[in-house]
């Protein structure tokens, strides 16, 4: 079977349960958003899938093959991490060379063009790059590998608005040209909302949502109006959260509401991904 299958992963750090019985599938050629608050377990999950850390229990399968300590399976994945694992003194161009050794599909010309477009100086030492250019270097490397499963952990960290824009466009251009699976872990939800097709939400090491963005957004709505009218309209509904401003109120609901039976002055709105995320992951 094509795709990445994660089966019942558990990972503990001392008495912190970083991953709790995590099972999910990343299908071939789809763009996923992996969303979670700080410390929710996003990076632990990605590190486990790409073989950087071992789970306490559970399995990861890449195209049906066990991925742990399996070079062939690992070559199909590439992870752009937030942290820097490159040795002291290593230059950008050396890292490119080493990555090319391990990834036979590495596209050198594409890498060079993208570096030029972003203004990345490949002669510089990796450690001397700014936060923004550190991210740019890693995302260019990731896109150039041509691995079928790419994992981006905070790809736009430190990037200015122009560079973030360039990244999303480069990703979509590459994806349209030759599809791959991309898993993007980010806190900038509004920016990726249109780019991702599937959403995975992780909270305290557990997967709480895993479905298409469209389906997920259809499961919520906002109800606004005067406090009394909103209170009566949302009776018996599952309320995720409420915002009040004076006598006005907005309620965030899980599920839809029948607009034909509502009192006058009540407005029904669509839930966007960021609002839904905030209310699903609030303490």
């Amino acid at each position: 079977m094509k795709g990445i299958e994660v089966r019942s992963l558990d990972k503990n750090y001392g008495d912190v349960r970083a991953l709790r019985n995590v099972s999910l599938t990343f299908e071939e050629n789809k763009i996923y958003g992996l969303l979670g608050r700080n410390g929710a377990g996003k990076t632990t999950l990605l590190n486990t899938i790409t073989g950087r850390i071992f789970p306490d229990s559970g399995d990861v399968l890449v195209d049906g093959e066990a991925a742990l300590e399996n070079d062939k399976a690992q070559q199909k994945t590439f992870m752009m991490s937030e942290k820097n694992f490159y040795p002291e003194g290593m230059k950008v161009k050396d890292a490119i060379k080493w990555t090319r050794e391990f990834y036979p599909g590495f596209d050198e010309e594409y890498c060079r063009n993208l570096a030029e477009k972003f203004g990345l100086n490949t002669k510089k030492k990796i450690k001397s790059l700014s936060t923004g250019y550190g991210s740019i270097f890693k995302l260019i490397l990731t896109l150039s590998t041509n691995a079928p499963y790419l994992f981006f952990d905070e790809p736009v960290l430190g990037l200015d608005a122009n560079h973030r824009d360039m990244f999303y466009r480069a990703l979509l251009e590459k994806y349209s040209d030759k599809p791959f699976t991309a898993v993007i872990s980010t806190h900038l939800i509004e920016e990726v909302a249109g780019v991702i097709e599937e959403v995975v939400i992780i909270k305290k090491g557990e997967i709480i949502r895993n479905q298409s963005a469209e389906e997920l957004l259809a499961t919520g709505c906002t109800v606004s109006g005067t406090a009394a009218a909103v209170d009566s309209a949302i009776q018996g509904k599952t309320v995720l959260g409420v915002d009040s401003l004076g006598g006005l109120k907005t309620a965030y609901l899980a599920g839809e509401i029948d607009s034909s039976t509502l009192p006058a002055g009540i407005e029904i709105g669509k839930m966007d991904l960021q609002k839904l995320f905030i209310h699903l992951t609030n303490e």
Binding site: I31, D165, Y168, R169, L172, E173, Y175, S176, D177, E190, A193, G194, V195, I196, E197, E214, G269, K270, D272
Partner: protein, 120 residues
């Protein structure tokens, strides 16, 4: 396109292409932008762009030329106009009247405002 818009993105994409056809930016029998171009331009998933274009295929506003891309159908502008006239009441008049009632404007006052709009 505006992602804050309440309507799904693919509906907005279809509308953007329709607007292009109405304004003459995409004349009949010429090619419309590809799924990739729309996806990269608006920074949206290509599947969403495709879904928007497919809405127009279903309504015979654009058609596929094998191996070339999507083209504007003959009579597309006219059929968009017809469709939008049909939806005009629900999309505009209904909202205007609701807002006018909220503000306490009389029917005559609203009618006078519409007249004034034509004088501009």
């Amino acid at each position: 396109m505006n992602l804050q818009d309440e309507r799904p993105i693919f509906v907005q994409i279809a509308e953007y292409i329709e607007d292009g056809i109405l304004s003459g930016a995409f004349p009949e029998d010429t090619q419309i932008p590809s799924t990739t171009e729309i996806s990269v331009w608006y920074k949206i998933n290509p599947a969403t762009a495709l879904k928007g274009i497919n809405l127009l295929v279903d309504e015979n506003i654009v058609y596929k030329k094998r191996g070339l891309g999507m083209f504007v159908s003959t009579g597309a502008a006219e059929s968009i106009r017809r469709k939008r006239k049909k939806d005009f009441f629900d999309n505009y008049i209904d909202k205007v009247v609701t807002e006018a009632k909220k503000l306490g404007l009389t029917q005559e006052e609203l009618a006078a405002m519409i007249e004034r709009g034509y004088d501009r």
